[in-house]
Symmetry: C2
Subunit: 116 residues, 2 copies
């Protein structure tokens, strides 16, 4: 099942995984026009290639550890840490162990919603 | 230490707790004008009293279990689940065990920033 727009309560087990390849899979867990939450698993060694988007992003590292690149800065972060990405800033990650990231975007990412 | 506005990398251990009383404490972990992330601990039995605010909110339940009230709806949720609160909708929680919530707000909450 895919989450509905502005769904109030979203149970993890009821949302289907989307396999993105390369050891990455995700669930879009909640969204409205102005905010979207995405649960993403990165297997050890998985890479989130450098990219950018006009959406402001904050990520919570739920578990694991990663090297995080944001613009010209690079830092190793661990479970419990957060990172902040302004609109259109290039960023990427490399997972040093199995890791879970909770990504929040404002506004929501239309490209993460299946075509209907 | 309090997190700086638009700080890129935020390590959990470097941010101070704010004790809110009643078994609740929090750390504001990241923010810019349009988005704020808050890490909140609720001890077993702690209550987030019914309230509302103009900020859209999505919460990730990192651990524990809670009864969540949103408008006229009530649901018991557990670690891994999310909930979505539209602007100005009344909401509250009761923690059934020690729980951690990761709250995201858009726009950011000025009332969560210490006066300078």
């Amino acid at each position: 099942m895919f989450v509905q727009k502005e769904q109030l309560f979203i149970e993890f087990q009821k949302i289907d995984w989307e396999d993105k390849g390369g050891g990455v899979r995700r669930k879009v867990m909640a969204y409205g026009d102005q905010l979207m939450a995405v649960y993403a698993e990165f297997k050890r060694g998985a890479v989130g290639a450098l990219h950018h988007h006009p959406h402001l992003q904050i990520t919570y590292i739920e578990s694991g550890s990663l090297t995080v690149h944001i613009g010209a800065e690079t830092k190793m972060l661990r479970a419990g840490d957060f990172y902040y990405i302004s609109a259109d800033v290039i960023h990427g990650v490399e997972a040093h162990e199995d890791s879970v990231l909770i990504d929040f975007f404002t506004p929501m990412r239309e490209d993460f919603i299946p075509a209907t």
